[in-house]
């Protein structure tokens, strides 16, 4: 994948860091080295304050009240939708549906579009590098419809296997579910190209962009996928909020997911006329504060510039991979830095990742250890778990150095 970085001003991670209250604290005299943004990102003051401001000064339900603070809440809520739309360059804010998280976004596609469109003779394809949230819904859909599952495996160096892609294309699958960026291997998949190839054989494409939208410029129109999901808490926003960005024609034709308030136009005892997009898919009182917070998070990222965010992380990941490769007995996973997102997975000799994460924690270095909700991928590489360091806008080379130093300490403790 080739990238053109248009904004060349380097991101100032030191300055960014100052915007994050949690990163100001020290434990036992050591600063917090947070390398688990792949699990959830930290939140800048601006986002925390936006939540606080909502609850303190205009807390009211949306789309209902005629009084001032309810109107204000509704206005901010809908403004956030437009911000998110612009952030990923969706065609219309009607294509932006707020959900509980990306898991809910993907399940929504399975339960609504899937149940209405997939049948026994169909094939559903997903890749071996998917997060469980982009695997289990399709297994459930297969169980409900009888559709067959097929898989695109990964190569030793963490790319999608081209032969499997070609084989999948020949099957003319009904659905392809693929992640834009692997949360374990870091692989950046060529989404635009995959979508074009699968569209040619009539496949509907669902993209899990949970690890892409926070870290690089994403243009959903350029991708041209049918559904794209992402999750607010990995992109400086609050937890409990996800986005499903869908092609309007598909969303219009899909049955609603949950029935209830807000998603209706008129309800009679025996029938209901549904609301328009996007509210048709937003039953019940939504995560109002969360959506407002996400709007502020998106503003924050836009101000930094996603080109610069990507450039910063690319440089940092290259440095990290280079430094990690120097640690004896360390095995790195995933592709080289040019195709690598913000997550770097590794194992170190016979030290179990949980022991390793525990030792790193003594140095106030937070990393993730485990299967990262990608057990098929662990099976593929015949490992039980990996340790994962994932980077974001507030990380710098000092964090990498702290990680590497702590790894040397772990080697000593394990008498290597």
């Amino acid at each position: 994948m080739t990238e053109t970085i248009t904004d060349t001003r380097a991101l100032d991670a030191q300055a960014v860091r100052r915007d994050f209250p949690i990163l100001q604290q020290e434990t036992n005299g050591k600063r917090l080295v947070y390398l688990d943004s792949g699990a959830t990102s930290q939140k800048p003051s601006a986002v925390i304050e936006a939540l606080d401001e909502y609850y303190r000064t205009y807390n009211a339900n949306v789309h209902r009240g005629v009084y001032r603070i309810s109107e204000l809440a509704s206005e901010r809520y809908e403004k956030s939708r437009v911000k998110v739309q612009r952030f990923v360059n969706a065609r219309s804010s009607r294509e932006i549906i707020f959900t509980a998280n990306v898991t809910a976004s993907l399940n929504m596609v399975a339960y609504t579009w899937g149940r209405a469109n997939v049948s026994r003779d169909d094939v559903i394809v997903f890749t071996e590098m998917e997060h469980h949230s982009n695997i289990v819904p399709w297994q459930i859909l297969s169980g409900m419809t009888g559709a067959r599952l097929e898989f695109i495996h990964v190569t030793d160096d963490g790319y999608l296997n081209e032969e499997d892609v070609e084989r999948a294309l020949e099957l003319r699958p009904k659905l392809l579910a693929v992640t834009a960026v692997s949360n374990v291997l870091g692989t950046i998949n060529p989404i635009k190209e995959l979508v074009a190839r699968f569209h040619e054989v009539g496949t509907t494409v669902v993209v899990d962009a949970a690890q892409a939208v926070p870290h690089m410029p994403v243009d959903v129109r350029e991708w041209d996928a049918d559904f794209v999901g992402f999750t607010a808490h990995k992109m400086l926003g609050p937890t409990g909020l996800g986005v499903l960005c869908g092609r309007r024609e598909l969303l219009e034709a899909m049955p609603p997911f949950m029935g209830g308030g807000d998603m209706i136009r008129e309800v009679h005892l025996d029938r209901t006329r549904y609301n328009e997009l996007p509210w048709k898919f937003e039953a019940g009182t939504p995560n109002i504060a969360g959506v407002i917070g996400l709007g502020v998070a998106v503003d924050y990222l836009s101000e930094l510039g996603m080109d610069r965010v990507r450039a910063h992380e690319r440089e940092l990941v290259a440095y990290a991979m280079e430094q990690l490769a120097e640690v004896p007995d360390l095995r790195l996973f995933g592709p080289p830095p040019k195709d690598h997102g913000a997550a770097v997975s590794f194992t170190l000799a016979d030290i179990h990742p949980h022991d390793l994460a525990h030792i790193l924690d003594q140095e106030n270095v937070c990393v993730r250890a485990g299967h990262h909700c990608a057990q098929p991928l662990m099976e593929r590489y015949d490992i039980a778990a990996t340790t994962r360091a994932s980077f974001y806008i507030y990380n710098d080379r000092d964090d990498v150095d702290a990680l590497v130093e702590a790894l040397h300490k772990a080697r000593k403790i394990f008498m290597l």
Partner: protein, 139 residues
């Protein structure tokens, strides 16, 4: 910071030499063909897996083996546990408590890691009772 500082007090002697020795050179690692009692379970948090096989004669544990994979704490404590039960009457084995296990392990653990240390005991008891037993550290 008080709570955090307290938990970290004992970290330095966490990975003692004998723990690593049990991890790298486990005693009684393996499986028993046609065991009298067997059970397998995992710690959903970290994916540690342990299986325990027992051969019992006249109410006494004649042979015990463990297998699985996981962190040093879970694997070392499972191995130590097999040494604790070998040659002991089943009735006594049933009485082994969480405290006994942690005392044998000889290190102070953080709450999350206590689960790792007690996985072997949980699996052992499940094998004897033939059904899953609740986590040892549940109130």
């Amino acid at each position: 910071m008080g709570i955090i500082a307290r938990e970290y007090r004992h970290m330095d002697d966490f990975y003692r030499e004998y723990i690593l020795d049990y991890y790298r050179n486990p005693r009684n690692r393996g499986v028993i063909e046609a065991p009298d009692y067997t059970y397998e379970d995992s710690n959903p948090l970290c994916g540690d897996e342990i299986r325990m096989d027992l051969r019992v004669r006249d109410g006494v544990v004649e042979e015990v083996k463990f297998s699985g994979r996981g962190c040093a704490i879970s694997q070392a404590s499972a191995s130590m546990l097999t040494e604790m039960v070998e040659g002991r009457p089943l009735e006594e084995v049933k009485q082994i408590s969480k405290e006994d296990m942690l005392e044998t392990l000889g290190i102070t653990l953080t709450p999350v890691r206590v689960k790792c240390a007690l996985l072997g005991l949980k699996v052992l008891k499940s094998s004897i009772y033939g059904l899953p037993v609740p986590d040892e550290d549940e109130p």
